[in-house]
């Protein structure tokens, strides 16, 4: 008996988990993300401009936050940040759902369809606005106005007159494939037996979709939209290349606002304060995601 117990203990100690395995990841991420985040918080409390080295590095408390919060440009940037992530999240959910439903019914050529539908997601965020701004939305030479005027509509200049819509158009184009991907996962896990049973009971395709498929997709839609909101929130390329935040600062978001404060005005304290506000907004969405996903994960790990 004793021998068996000892063998068991020995086996168990052999089966002990690798102790240091997570350390490299933890240390690396702490050093490159958490320490800089703390440093950002620290710098946000100081007044410091790199262009004027003679001026002292001076503690100013929450003045930087007060300054940016009372700045009209900052407020509109914060608003745009919300707009640019919420509207595309919904639009891509709609488009992605349509695409996923189509592809899911496809019986041949799936590989080709995936490749084509996925392509916009592979395009660089600086090439995307080059295509849209020049070749499609350009008021004189662009394809959109060529199409509009040849059908007798009036020409439009989105980049100057509706820069926010132009930026969102680029985001939606790029991110619809992402949503399609997530919803496809949902569709492929719909229980086909339930669908068949419903069909036998006389439910039409629309009712099947409304009462079986759609409820099944709700968690996928929710998680997909939350992840998208988090990933689009710091969108940068389409603004930098597409509109440079303009005209004026109509299409500036927080990411771009901070970038300009940092690289054009060299106002370290204010840039840091702006960065913290952005981090705070992301954290809110992240908490929502966590609260939603956590119960699933806990259930799974039991």
């Amino acid at each position: 008996m004793k021998g068996v117990a000892r063998a068991g203990a020995k086996a168990r100690s052999r089966l002990s988990p690798p102790r240091w395995a997570t350390w490299p990841t933890v240390i690396y991420l702490l050093v490159t993300t958490q320490i800089p985040l703390l440093a950002t918080a620290y710098f946000s409390l100081f007044s410091w401009n790199l262009l004027y080295p003679a001026r002292p590095f001076r503690f100013v408390g929450l003045n930087n936050f007060q300054a940016i919060l009372s700045n009209g440009g900052f407020r509109s940037a914060a608003l745009n940040t919300v707009l640019f992530s919420v509207v595309p999240a919904f639009l891509t959910a709609l488009i992605g759902l349509g695409l996923a439903l189509l592809v899911n019914r496809l019986r041949f050529g799936r590989g080709l369809a995936y490749s084509l539908l996925f392509a916009p997601f592979l395009i660089m965020e600086t090439v995307n606005p080059i295509i849209w701004k020049n070749m499609i939305l350009n008021p004189i030479y662009g394809l959109l106005n060529f199409a509009l005027t040849s059908f007798g509509f009036e020409a439009v200049d989105l980049i100057s007159n509706a820069p926010r819509a132009a930026v969102m158009l680029m985001i939606v184009w790029q991110w619809s494939p992402f949503m399609m991907l997530i919803l496809l996962a949902g569709l492929q896990s719909v229980n086909t037996e339930t669908l068949e049973a419903a069909q036998i009971d006389g439910a039409g395709p629309f009712n099947q979709f409304l009462h079986i498929t759609l409820p099944h997709l709700v968690p996928y839609l929710t998680v997909g939209m939350l992840i998208e909101a988090i990933l689009i929130l710091p969108v940068f390329g389409p603004i930098y290349v597409g509109t440079y935040g303009g005209p004026g600062n109509q299409s500036t978001n927080l990411m771009f606002f901070v970038f300009r404060v940092l690289t054009e005005q060299y106002e370290i304290g204010r840039a840091a304060a702006g960065g913290l506000v952005t981090a705070f907004m992301t954290t809110i969405v992240m908490m929502a995601l966590l609260a939603y996903v956590r119960p699933y994960m806990e259930r799974q790990s039991q």
Binding site: P18, L99, L116, E125, I130, I230, V258
Partner: protein
Amino acid sequence: MKARRRHGLLVAIATFAVALLLCFPILWLFFTSLKTESDAIATPPTLFVPLSFEHYRQALSGEYPHFLKNTVIVTAASIAIAFLLGLPAAYKLAFFPGRKANDFLFFVLSTRFMPGVAVIVPIFLLYTRIGLIDTLPGLVLMYTTLNLPIVVWLMRSFFKDVPYELIEASLLEGASHSRILWETVLPLSKAGLATTAFLLIILTWNEFFFAVNLSGHQAATLPVFMASFFTSEGQSWARMSAAAFLAVLPVLLLGWVASRALVKNVLAGAVK
């Protein structure tokens, strides 16, 4: 049966019509890159004009190779380091999760979701001070940060496909964890490794925010090159299109080859 087949054909036509519409901007970019400058901006848009690869020849003999080289180096190095650091963590989380596993996973994820502006100020200051600004190692350091969480999350879910009994048996034979990871688990997770690497290549290749903040000319990657090309020569549509198409081509080709596997594997990984 006949109605069903017709239905299938309709679905196929609709799908490919939509797919082509979605891809149209990319196809048009390629088409424009083959035209002469005056044909490229002609209105109404020209269709039947002489085409040539002249702009590609120009682009390739210009600065493009320098930025391509930077992008390849930065992408490859940051992905390799991320795997090196993250695989042991993924192994532990997959087979010996322990009570804190979910907290750990969420911490890792939260670092990936943090926007660049939250950390750029001190990183920028530090890089300027210690001479990492506009260097490839400087970019590699930050890209490793972006790639590491994805390695941990995805590889953990792929490792879960390997039966735990296999690990247990090897442990009882006295194998060390690093040997099991290297000789048992990784060979069984090749598809997962490829999928993860593929996703990381797309994301790193296209990253712009850190690249534009932390590099000038020396270490600039292709996204930065495209942005500056647009600023300096935005009027030469055909030349710019050629450069832009060259910049996205490697990832597009990779996507063409691997998108199906990606759809299947990432989905499987994400759902688990």
